[in-house]
């Protein structure tokens, strides 16, 4: 049972050799440490914080994007959405949820992940970009890969030991970022 290792790189001095002795004993710890460097390097990449306006127009409130996935065996993602609103402005499309998806998880019908807005009458984010009320909200943490109705849940991606780019969409946001929420428990099986 092996999982990707999350290593705090800020504590690593790359200038120090892993084995400072020229002729050390053949200790198992050296082999384990050598393996650890690679297992740490395949950990999920940083999740870029995108500050981006969803312009106040029904056609363009959606935001399509791609996310680079590391070969870490991540199998579910979660989005963090930045919201900006003016509660006095009517929602131009009448929806009070963010609609999001990943290509792997499906892009239509019940596969769409719906995340509630913090106010009943979500305003046009564009109108108050740089002002008004703002908040950060995470999409759902429930694992349900075959929903029968739209709900707030984790996003599926294909676990792999190769890097990939996942096509995604969200809507009505003033910003967004993505992180790997669930990892494959045993990378030996991939």
């Amino acid at each position: 049972m092996r999982k990707a290792i999350l290593k705090d790189w800020s504590k690593v001095d790359w200038g120090i050799e892993a084995v400072p002795e020229a002729t050390p004993p053949a200790l198992l710890k050296y082999l384990l440490e050598a393996d650890m460097w690679g297992m740490g390097a395949i950990a999920p990449y940083c999740g870029c914080g995108h500050l981006a306006d969803s312009v106040g127009d029904a056609q363009v409130e959606e935001r399509y994007f791609g996310v680079a996935l590391s070969p870490s065996g991540a199998n579910h993602l979660r989005f963090t959405l930045a919201q900006s609103w003016d509660a006095t402005t009517a929602d131009p499309t009448g929806s009070t949820v963010h609609e999001s998806w990943t290509n792997t998880g499906g892009m239509a019908g019940a596969d769409i992940v719906t995340t509630a807005a913090p106010v009943a009458n979500l305003g046009n984010p564009a109108g108050k970009f740089g002002g008004g009320s703002t908040a950060l909200v995470d999409t759902g943490d429930t694992e349900d890969d075959a929903p029968t109705v739209t709900k707030d849940r984790l996003f599926e991606v294909s676990a792999s030991l190769l890097p990939a780019i996942e096509s995604c969409k969200t809507s009505k946001v003033a910003g967004f970022s993505v992180y790997a929420a669930l990892m494959t428990e045993n990378l030996e099986l991939l």
């Binding site: 390097a41 950990a43 914080g49 500050l51 312009v55 056609q59 680079a68 590391s70 929420a181």
Partner: protein, 328 residues
């Protein structure tokens, strides 16, 4: 004798790691995995979601970034939505080593023609692969042509490394490829060199490939959001994730102009209520470094980032591009 790159990352079962006191077979895989990392460590060099109105004109975006010292190939994916179906358009990307706004001398990386989705309002993803970005490149220019009918909105630009493989010799990044002939025999000597090379190679690859951790980009010359007056305008907070990190050294860079007045200290970026750094609207791009602590643990370790903008009294600030880069 060859520089073998595994088809996927070789996860070594614990039984193979713990059984031998020191054997060549697991070590061979471990060192080969550094070749794998060289080819397949592909974090986003550029990940920007432009803020722009739907436009019927050509647009360009100027994006600072820090490419690999090895002059690697990169793949480009740009996402667009056109209000009319099947529109012809061209995406061009240029680079410069010395940014000077409108006076910048650009060098072409690629220019490719595409046709948008056959469905009006459908997503169009335009890709260009195996584009070499020279190590000297400092800023990229993305240009997108106008559609013949309707309007266009630029949703996202993604640039990721795509090295063709591992080359002989020590690379400018410091990476030293592993020749699989050196440990192929079961009785090969296990030199400390192999153990040390694993760490150094991993460090060379990770620190050479900067990852974009923050982006706020607007159409160059026609910013959707400008900021007037001397008071700070606070933009919405966004969250950047740094899995496993306790603190991160970030490099923030900005391209911005002021209509008049002083250009210094016109932008401020950092954590809400915490540390921040100032960026200026200068004659070239501005660049500042800051170390920030993360919040949370494991995959959820993150930094909340907030951008503040201001001009001077009676004047206007147009921030065209504010980005953050991180490397381990």
């Amino acid at each position: 004798m060859a520089f073998n790159v595994p088809a996927k990352y070789q996860v070594i079962p614990q039984s193979q790691l713990f059984s031998p006191l020191m054997a060549t077979t697991p070590l061979q895989k471990i060192v080969e995995n550094t070749n794998f990392l060289y080819q397949y460590h592909r974090p986003a060099l550029v990940s920007v979601a432009p803020s722009s109105f739907p436009v019927g004109r050509a647009s360009e975006y100027h994006v600072p970034m820090s490419p690999s010292a090895d002059g690697l190939r990169y793949d480009f994916e740009t996402r667009h939505v056109f209000s009319a179906a099947s529109q012809a358009f061209t995406v061009s990307v240029d680079y410069t080593a010395t940014y000077a706004y409108g006076a910048t001398a650009w060098t072409a990386l690629y220019s490719t023609a595409y046709t948008s989705s056959a469905t009006a309002g459908g997503l169009t993803t335009a890709t260009a692969t195996a584009i070499v970005i020279p190590a000297s490149a400092n800023v990229l220019r993305f240009s997108v042509t106008a559609p013949a009918a309707g309007n266009r909105r630029d949703h996202h630009f993604l640039v990721t490394p795509s090295p063709s493989g591992v080359s002989a010799g020590v690379q400018p990044s410091g990476f030293a490829p592993f020749d699989d002939g050196l440990l192929v025999s079961s009785s090969s000597a296990v030199h400390t060199e192999w153990l040390n090379r694993v760490k150094s190679n991993v460090g060379d690859v990770l620190t050479d490939r900067h990852q974009m951790c923050f982006s706020f980009v607007q159409e160059y010359g026609s910013a959707m959001h400008t900021f007037s007056g001397a008071e700070w305008s606070i933009l919405p907070t966004v969250r950047a994730y740094f899995p496993g990190q306790k603190e991160v050294d970030l490099n923030f860079r900005a391209i911005a102009t002021v209509s008049a007045g002083a250009g210094t200290y016109r932008m401020r970026i950092g954590t809400p209520g915490g540390s921040s750094t100032y960026l200026s609207a200068l004659t070239g791009e501005d660049s500042q470094f800051i170390t920030l602590p993360t919040v949370g643990t494991g995959n959820t370790a993150h930094v909340d980032l907030q951008l503040w903008c201001r001009a001077t009294a009676g004047n206007t600030l147009a921030p065209y591009s504010v980005i953050g880069m991180w490397r381990p």
